[in-house]
Amino acid sequence: MQAWYAFLTGPALWATFIIFLGGLVIRLTFLYGLSRERDRVFYNHMDWTWGLKSILHWLIPWGSASMRLQPVFSFVFIVFHVGLLAVPLFLSAHNILWDRAFGVSLWSMSDAWADALTMVVLACGVFLLIRRLVRPEVRILTTAWDYTLLGLTLTPFVTGFLAYHQWGPYEWLMILHVLSAEVLLVLIPFTKLGHMVLFFFTRAFIGFEMGARRGARAW
């Protein structure tokens, strides 16, 4: 068990980071090359102001007409994303690991905050799951893969939460915690979760297309 844990937090973790970052770089480079050849429309109408506006309006809570049409869902999905990023990055236990591995660490949030935020993320996750199940326009689009990815996204949070509270078999939970997080990171560059970075590009494009060319607000 210990050996497994050591492997997962050692070589496997390094491999994960390499695949995660390398994968994103490869996907972006590939798309860049392809766009140079086939998507002139992207470059012809480039305009930073419109690109940035298009991105910002979708980062600010209720910054777009679409989010305002569905205020509750938008609120949940923003909180969900904030939690997804903040908890793993600013958890003090992770910061200790960062420090040990790289000699640098980020600002840490208090454990109580992290604990609360984890619960919020889980609650949001459940909300999103239920929404997928009950809203016909979402259910019709949903594939098994969407449930899998949602489950996989929540697993590190559930296991981390249980382990922190020492509920259940701690060692198993920790192994599952690290493993699921690694699988998730590895998947990001190759799945729809790539929106983590591609969001900025597709938003910028629609900003150019609707805004720079026509002055229309894509938000």
Partner: protein
Amino acid sequence: MQKNDGDTRPVDVKKIRELLDANNGARIRTWLSLCSRCGLCAESCFFYLAHNRNPKLSPAYKFKATLGELYKRKGHVDREFLHRCADIVWGECTTCKRCSMYCPFGIDVATLIAATRTILYSQGITPEGLARTVVNYRETGNQMGMSSEDFVDTCEWMAEESQDEIKGVTIPIDKHGAKYMYTVNPREPMFYPQDLAMMAKILTVAEEDWTMPSTGWDCTNLPMFAGDRALAGQVVRNMYEKALELGVQAILITECGHAYRSALFEGPYLAGYPDGKPPVPVVHSVQLFYEYIRDGRITIDPAKKIKEPVTYQDPCNVSRNGGLWEEGRKLVRFLAEDFRDMNPNRDHNHCCGGGGGYIPMGPEYKARRMASGRVKAEQIRATGAKIVIAPCHNCFDQVSDLNKEYQLGVKVMSFKEILCELMVVPEKFRPEVSEEDEGES
């Protein structure tokens, strides 16, 4: 309704794969792989709203079930499937681009739908109404198959007719070096020649330097909606090249929405101009009319300003996809005292349901067009307006049909018509004969 009645032609998988591959650029690839299936776009589509929020009408479902599926199956599909796709991409989407503003990733569903149309077209599938126009474009360069002579004759006839009202009206044909080359929708010379007369009167009173070309005068582009990209490029190139040949300063587009979209935004790409810009500037009538009144080249008789409540139909391809929503509104305010906006409006307005080729798709699609137009009908009714101004031929027809179907009790008008009624005709343009009429008013 697109049905597979007896269509047993084999599917050319190789061709489909070629087109799938040609379309597989960074944008389409990213959009298809990024869609989170969140369903946010559903609310933005009037087809979805008009049909009791039928989930199959959400934009994401429409591209997923068509282009998405074609990629997934790598083109290995049967006729059955292709006809189902046709039903979606022509019957359930007008490529109005509204949904791209409501998707967190800005996925441009209209582009995905248009790509699907080209694939279907390559397999000989396209609504008959559009297929008919394609033949005409190919043979005569315009969608209604009108000959150059007939066109020029109509122009002359209309110029003559107009001289009774405005002295010295002419429709100059192929005049080199004019400021504007005015291009129209063929339904004007074919069925509503008065539209040509009205425009000639306005341009005469504004003392404009303009011309109409004897070829390349059709600014519409239905092959763009039929899925024939090559021909769509040719159609717009005819117009550009004529403008270059005549050495005009700009192409002036009639009150037509998709013509403007074609000439200014999609045309350069269809015709293969690498910088995405038309070789000659393109100006829409709404813009020009607005400038005329703003700059005092046309004066509106204050006593004739419309008193009845007026609303403005933002044609998607003039407003959201053309950028002219403010000009349109200011123009309406010049002409009418009681302007009532629809809600939503401007760049976020709903399509009327007649776009994307829907009107020319003809009577077999009419019932569906009326059903999906419910959203627009309700928008109009809610304003309480008695007049709807629609600076787009397709919107004009659709709103007119909706008016009957939903008993809206409105009158649909174009800017041309109103301008002609309201503009002050300066002394020098008043024909001698009509002096007694002047005395009455």
